[in-house]
Amino acid sequence: MSIEANEEFKPKIVAFCCNWCSYAGADLAGSSRLGYPADVKIIRVPCSCRVNPMFILRAFEKGADGVILCGCHPGDCHYSTGNFYARRRMTMLFSMLDYIGVENGRTRVEWVSAAEGVKFSTTMNEFVEKIHSLGKNVRLGDLRCRN
Amino acid sequence: MSIVNSQADKIKEISGSNPLKCMKCGKCSASCPSFNEMDIKPHQFVSYVQNEDIQSLVESKSLWKCLSCFACIERCPRNVQPGKLIDAARQIVVRQKGQDYLKADEIPELIDPETPQQLLVSAFRRYRR
């Protein structure tokens, strides 16, 4: 632990992106060369509503420092209603995490359309910055899951 | 809250309206009962704020010709509501002159039980924005 403390904090950040809007938005950020830190790794899901709160908790358990979920803007969901359900579920989950004392800001939901490469990049930059300010996730991590 | 750096920003903050939303339809000027009295017309107010020429606004006759009748606020299709901008410019002048204005919590002491409540409300609407 003490050796680690001297090392630069490199957060692990998982980004779930829906296939139709946000993943395409991330692609657009890429083709527009709009950078964001390499700490962010994207997992493609068909829709934001595919993201089970258990996936997010699992990421934290395994040592993620932040988890962000991106989907189509409300009303623009490819499956028409998926992000509405995701929105309620995530609100509930985030509220519960806040309630048990997990720092606010380790989780985030952002609606990013396929045309919003800039938004994707700024969102990711902001989010990484936020995680840097919060530091390592200790409250949700699970020792057994750490290497 | 972002830092308010220019007078134009101050006007935007006080009025809560965004001049960039204006589509220059002129409905405000078409609605204004004091139009002919004004040197800067209501629709021009928006572009003065946009162009950050607050000095001209503050020195204009219009500032004191506006009746606060709210016709432009009511009818503006873009929620720019020049009346609020005019009101905000007035606020700036009042503040620059160092005049006092009341805070809400100072009211109870000064109040006369005979004062109609409506007067207070309209005074607040006009002077405390």
């Binding site: 692990k12 998982v14 993943y23 991330a26 692609d27 950020a29 890429g30 083709s31 060369r33 950078g35 964001y36 390499a38 790794k41 994207i42 997992i43 899901v45 068909p46 829709c47 509503c49 595919r50 993201v51 089970n52 709160p53 996936f55 699992r58 990421a59 395994k62 993620a64 009303g75 623009d76 969901c77 490819h78 499956y79 028409s80 209603t81 998926g82 359900y85 579920r89 990049s121 290497n147 | 939303k21 589509m23 220059k24 339809c25 002129g26 409905k27 405000c28 000027s29 078409a30 609605s31 204004c32 139009f35 629709h43 016709a71 009511e74 009818r75 503006c76 299709p77 873009r78 929620n79």
Partner: protein
């Protein structure tokens, strides 16, 4: 255990300049299941694909990971390549190391590290992939068009001409729609009826077209290629087969006080009526709320005068159930209500009218027989004022945020027609912008100004004040002269915003077609798929998708028809295999998944389940894989996790999470 091959693409220098591709391939060999790894300058090229195919065969690969550009770019390419080499296409996953890595990072070490992690996640997923097989579903060779205006008529005609059966469902007693209410059309000034009526006749006569007027879509189930639709044929109270359309019933009907929908309530109609003379079908309906016979039981005059014996008071609504392969929505538009625009005195003065009302006034079959006159006193106006953008381009909730698109042109048309027919009438148009993109459109507007002397003033009107003498005082502004204007007018015409037909939300819900905040139906892609709904098998025609004029509507109607024909021409459809699948042993049968399914793909059946020898009859979910589009909403709603999504299973996604957080 899978045998996985990892293929790292240089994409020329697009990837290789920032990611050490050799290192990614090296690291790949250390991942569980990976038996082969190589890199190549262009994996998507013919040569690159052959490399993948060769490796599949030589190393007996069961799974493939390609580290390359976005899967949105070449996933299909690589899947097809793998399929040709004999493995299931769904055993291929892409690690996006270009858009999500090399293009956004500058530091080689950092980018390489990230590329390795992305590769690991993809390998972890492929380790859990299973071969998936697309299903097949059949296509019913019949199309449904909802709405019988010009958009619906054109779409139906085009589909019918291609040899497919089409049904039109129209809510009102006649087809024709808004266009039938118009007097003339811009920019050619053709008579609207003259160009529309032949189309109405043609569609009515067409052997492949079947028209249900006075009917509404009640229920839609099924999916692309195989929709089942319930159509409610409202009781007309007139036998369509017997009626000869002689019109005597309408002449004799004593109930004459119902506002005419067709004439925008500017005059009245009888209780038994056809909306207009050229109506198709030319068979009246009885408005039961207005009919004396229905209200009091007495009267029955129409029955007595009808020589054909067509009047059927006891007719009932009929539900017709029909199957369709494709559905085209062509529900059109209406004008917004002007109740919230008191400043224009619309509800205070009869002489303040909307443009559509003016169309009826100008029309020879309209309430004034085509004479331009004030509705208050019948006098001919001398001063007319047109106000543009009433409720369009509004950011408050009184109006609509969008531009209604057609008003600039029809106002120029109205102004021109009035100046032409009544040269002594002065016409003033208050505008914010004049928008005339379109062939011959700006020329048309300029003619109004230059040849017809229409007075265009830039500036909006603030208020219209009815005067005691019946005149209307218009207070506007001229922004160019910077002057306020007070003008006495005899008539004021408001270019009210248009909005989608109020029934469209109900219809969109039935079709699970997405709809925007303004109630316009959403297209699958704003640029590349403008006439398709994101919901497969649903196509969009006309103003239901966004404001349009007639030529645009007709061309979009044709485009929607072509898309529908393209679908109907297929015998079978391949379905997306990434669908939800319930584990019956775990399913509680609680219906929560069905509640969130946007496609109605989940149903329940009570059946015998054999749980390791224990037999039990209970309620379990089943997914119609032809309907399921694979969003996954159900999988998260399911409390027990019985529902899983193939291709994006819980374990696959968790494996990716684990690989990233490792």
């Amino acid at each position: 255990m899978q045998r996985i091959g990892v293929f790292v693409c240089h994409c020329g220098s697009n990837i290789a300049a920032t990611v050490d591709v050799k290192k990614v391939a090296e690291w790949a060999l250390k991942e569980p299941g990976v038996v082969h790894a190589e890199d190549y300058p262009y994996m998507c090229s013919e040569a690159g694909q052959s490399k993948i195919q060769a490796a599949i065969k030589e190393k007996n690969l069961t799974g493939v990971v390609v580290c390359s550009c976005s899967p949105r770019m070449h996933e299909t390419t690589f899947r097809e390549a793998a399929e040709r080499a004999g493995i299931n296409p769904y055993m291929v996953e892409i690690a996006n190391i270009r858009e999500h890595c090399s293009w956004i990072h500058k530091d080689m070490e950092e980018a390489t590290k990230k590329a390795v992690i992305l590769m690991r996640a993809a390998v972890a997923k492929v380790n859990l992939n299973t071969p998936l097989k697309p299903g097949e579903s059949r296509v019913t060779k019949r199309a449904l068009v909802i709405g019988g205006g010009i958009a619906g008529i054109q779409t139906a005609l085009d589909i019918a001409e291609a040899g497919y059966k089409v049904d039109i469902v129209e809510k009102t007693p006649s087809i024709g729609g808004r266009m039938s209410q118009l007097d003339k059309t811009f920019p050619t000034l053709d008579c609207s009826a003259c160009i529309l009526t032949p189309k109405m006749v043609e569609v009515n006569k067409h052997e492949n077209v079947n028209i249900y007027t006075y009917s509404e879509v009640e229920k839609v189930s099924g999916f692309v290629g195989d929709f089942t639709v319930d159509i409610r044929k409202k009781a007309r109270s007139v036998d369509m087969d017997k009626c000869t359309g002689c019109g005597v019933c309408q002449e004799k009907c004593p109930s004459k006080k119902t506002p005419s929908e067709f004439n925008r309530a500017l005059n009245t109609r009888t209780a038994i009526y056809t909306p207009f003379a050229q109506a198709i079908p030319n068979v009246p309906v009885i408005d039961r709320e207005a009919c004396i016979k229905f209200k009091t039981g007495k009267c029955g005059i129409c029955e007595k005068v009808c020589q054909a014996g067509a009047i059927k008071y006891d007719q009932e609504d009929e539900i017709i159930t029909e199957k369709y392969g494709a559905i085209v929505v062509a529900t059109g538009f209406d004008m917004i209500k002007l109740d919230n625009y008191d400043e224009y005195a619309y509800s205070q003065s009869k002489d303040v009218i909307t443009s559509l009302e003016l169309e009826r006034i100008m029309n020879a079959a309209g309430p004034t027989k085509g004479h331009l006159e004030r509705l208050s006193d019948g006098k001919a106006p001398k001063e007319m004022v047109f106000i543009q953008c009433v409720g369009s381009r509004c950011s408050d909730d009184r109006g609509k945020s969008y531009c209604s698109k057609i008003c600039c042109m029809y106002t120029a048309k109205h102004a021109m027609l009035i100046r032409d027919k009544y040269p002594d009438v002065n016409v003033t148009v208050f505008y914010i912008d004049v928008r005339t993109p379109g062939k011959n459109f700006d020329e048309f507007y300029r003619r109004a100004v230059e040849d017809y002397g229409v007075n265009y003033i830039k500036g909006q009107v603030g208020k219209v004040i009815p005067q005691p003498d019946g005149k209307l005082l218009v207070r506007g502004v001229d922004l160019i002269d910077n002057k306020q204007i007070l003008k006495e007018a005899d008539m004021v015409v408001l270019a009210a915003a248009i909005e989608p037909n109020k029934d469209v939300r109900k219809i969109a819900t039935m079709l699970t077609a997405s709809i925007d905040t303004n109630n316009f139906l959403t297209e699958a892609h704003a640029k590349l798929r403008p006439v398709e709904s994101p919901t497969a098998g649903i196509f969009l025609s006309g103003v239901c998708q966004g404001p349009k004029d007639i030529p645009e509507t007709v061309s979009q109607a044709g485009a929607a028809a072509v898309k529908a024909i393209g679908l109907l021409a297929k015998d079978k459809l391949m379905t997306n295999p990434c669908t939800a699948k319930p584990d019956e042993l775990m399913c509680n049968g609680c219906s929560q998944c069905a509640n969130v399914c946007p496609y109605g793909a989940i149903s329940y059946e009570v059946k015998e389940i054999n749980d390791h020898g224990v037999r039990e009859t209970r309620r379990v979910a089943s997914v119609n894989s032809a309907l399921c589009q694979g969003c996954g909403a159900c999988t998260v709603t399911c409390p027990s996790g019985a529902m899983d999504l193939q291709g994006f299973s819980n374990r696959q996604i968790l494996a990716e999470v684990d690989a990233i957080c490792r």
